[in-house]
């Protein structure tokens, strides 16, 4: 078991399967808020579903509309269970806080070295627990 400490932006508990994106991501234009499916043209994970996943991506990009998209996804039941960023930026942070989705960043170790898609993880407040 490996525990990685970070900074809990919205502290919560979540357990689930990781979905890893290498590139910065925008929820607006990036996902369908009704289904959680990634719709950004040419995205490495285009067509995959973020619903219920522990989503790892470096940080947000693009439209300021991403916050409401995250809130709507939570409302629709298709939000990620938790989000891990390298260093979160406002749009993702605000969305996660208002949607009450656990968000963690600034981890002591590089999460991209330790987590791959499909890995089972737990988020608890300001730490990630890997098996």
């Amino acid at each position: 078991m490996n525990i990685i400490k970070g900074r809990g932006i919205f502290k919560g508990v979540a357990k689930g399967e990781a979905l890893v994106m290498k590139q910065p991501f925008s929820f607006l234009g990036g996902v369908n808020p009704d289904t959680g499916i990634i719709i950004e043209r040419g995205h490495e994970l285009e067509g995959q579903n973020v619903a219920g996943k522990i989503l790892l991506f470096p940080k947000g990009k693009g439209s300021t509309g991403g916050s409401y998209v995250l809130m709507e996804m939570k409302h629709q039941g298709v939000a990620p269970k938790a989000i891990i960023n390298l260093k979160t930026e406002t749009i993702i942070a605000v969305g996660a806080i208002l949607a009450e989705i656990p968000l963690i960043d600034q981890l002591e170790q590089d999460p991209f070295q330790l987590i791959t898609t499909g890995d089972f993880l737990e988020i608890d407040g300001d730490r990630i627990i890997l098996n």
């Binding site: 910065p24 808020p33 043209r41 439209s63 300021t64 916050s67 409401y68 809130m71 406002t90 749009i91």
Partner: protein
């Protein structure tokens, strides 16, 4: 972080639940960014004002916020329909009702409902050095870069929160040292049209991410329309909040001042190849038949409206193509008075006042049977496939007008 007595009172709910929620959100943002305290802000441009963006979760939040009055002057961004003509435009009753509900909530809280992504063309003009909270992307870039005002990349809810409590946390672009240029961008390609500046912005955004570019060797007579297109594209492909153009933007009288005497972390040279490749990359369409032509992302200025009228020159739009022009009420009012609106509408082209294609509901776009869009906006060309289910042609205003008349992209 330190809160003044007044800010504490807001945080504790003494001024009402909406102001409390706003302050709590601003404090959370401040904490994330290690802000030592709050600062009062002079103006806000609120984004996330269309029902498509806000959806039910956002509408609930906005209606909650409308329990109190905004504490600072705030204008609103584009909405998802033209309030003057939504019944004729195939919007669903449900969408229209929800959108109007949102407009009423903003009205109730005392926002100035300008319904545009170009607030600086609608009476909200920031002054040099002033602290503001603006959104969305191009407005942020405009406030920081063209006016030398200071705003962070606010999100839709935080722009509303800032207006509600009149405060923003002191971090990021509010601090002089964070406004220094970081990447030197040397333009070695001729750019003339709005679409070429859009391609330039799109390329830069992709290349520099969230860093602050300093552009050199730009033409002397840059227009607001050109930098508007460039700014919108930068905010689309990247997370840029500020750019400097040496000899042109207010914080860049010289290279040294733009960089605050720091060394660039990177240098980018942009030649014709980069512009051409970017333009081609933004064309996702394969069918040369054009269903919809869209000009005005960001909203057209009166100068662009005049140019469209000149290019149309009274020629009728193809009966299988629609030509939509999005602009703000303030610019359209001038066009109305000058007879430009009339000239343009007589050709069959249509105005969408205060609206935004990207926030027009999917069912409207689908019901109208559009498959292919032609636009001179890099931002629109990028988002059209995922946001509107349309394939894009991207080129000059001249090409767009020609496509509207012939129905074919060339």
């Amino acid at each position: 972080m330190y809160l003044s007595r007044e800010e504490e009172m807001m945080f504790e709910g003494e001024y009402g639940p909406a102001i409390q929620k706003a302050m709590q959100l601003q404090v959370a943002i401040g904490d994330i960014n290690d802000a030592p305290r709050m600062i009062p802000i002079k103006s806000v441009h609120i984004s996330g004002t269309s029902y498509k963006e806000a959806r039910n979760a956002g509408l609930n939040f906005i209606e909650f916020m409308a329990q109190n009055k905004l504490r600072v002057s705030a204008t609103t961004s584009s909405i998802g329909l033209d309030l003057n003509k939504w019944e004729q435009m195939n919007y669903s009753q449900n969408y229209a009702e929800k959108q109007i509900q949102m407009v009423q909530a903003f009205d109730k809280m005392g926002a100035i409902n300008t319904h545009t992504c170009t607030p600086y063309l609608a009476g909200n003009v920031p002054t040099y050095g002033s602290h503001v909270a603006w959104s969305p992307s191009e407005s942020i870039i405009a406030a920081n870069s063209r006016f030398g005002a200071r705003t962070n990349r606010e999100s839709d809810p935080s722009s509303l929160a800032a207006a509600m409590c009149g405060r923003a946390p002191l971090y990021g672009y509010h601090l002089t040292e964070n406004r220094a240029g970081q990447v030197l961008v040397d333009l070695q390609a001729p750019c003339h049209t709005i679409h070429e500046y859009g391609a330039l912005g799109y390329f830069i955004g992709k290349a520099v991410g969230e860093l602050t570019p300093v552009l050199i060797n730009m033409p002397d007579n840059l227009s607001m329309e050109q930098t508007k297109g460039m700014g919108a594209a930068m905010g689309t492909s990247g997370a840029i909040a500020l750019y400097h153009i040496v000899g042109h933007t207010p914080e860049a009288p010289s290279l040294e001042v733009a960089f605050q005497n720091n060394k660039p972390v990177d240098t980018l040279k942009i030649c014709s190849r980069e512009i051409i490749d970017t333009c081609e990359g933004l064309c996702s369409a394969t069918n040369e038949k054009v269903d919809l032509v869209l000009v005005g992302c960001p909203h057209c200025s009166i100068i662009e409206l005049k140019e469209i009228a000149r290019l149309l020159n009274g020629q009728q739009i193809n009966d299988k193509t629609r030509f939509w022009i999005t602009t703000s009420s303030s610019q359209k009012a001038i066009a109305d008075r000058m007879g430009i609106t009339n000239q343009i509408e007589r050709t069959g082209a249509e105005f969408l006042e205060g609206a935004c294609l990207l926030t027009t509901p999917d069912e409207t776009m689908n019901s109208l049977g559009f498959e292919t869009i032609a636009t001179n906006s890099a931002k629109m060309a990028h988002y059209a496939p995922s946001e509107c289910n349309l394939e894009s042609w991207f080129g000059s205003i001249t090409q767009c007008v020609r496509a509207a008349i012939t129905g074919i992209w060339s």
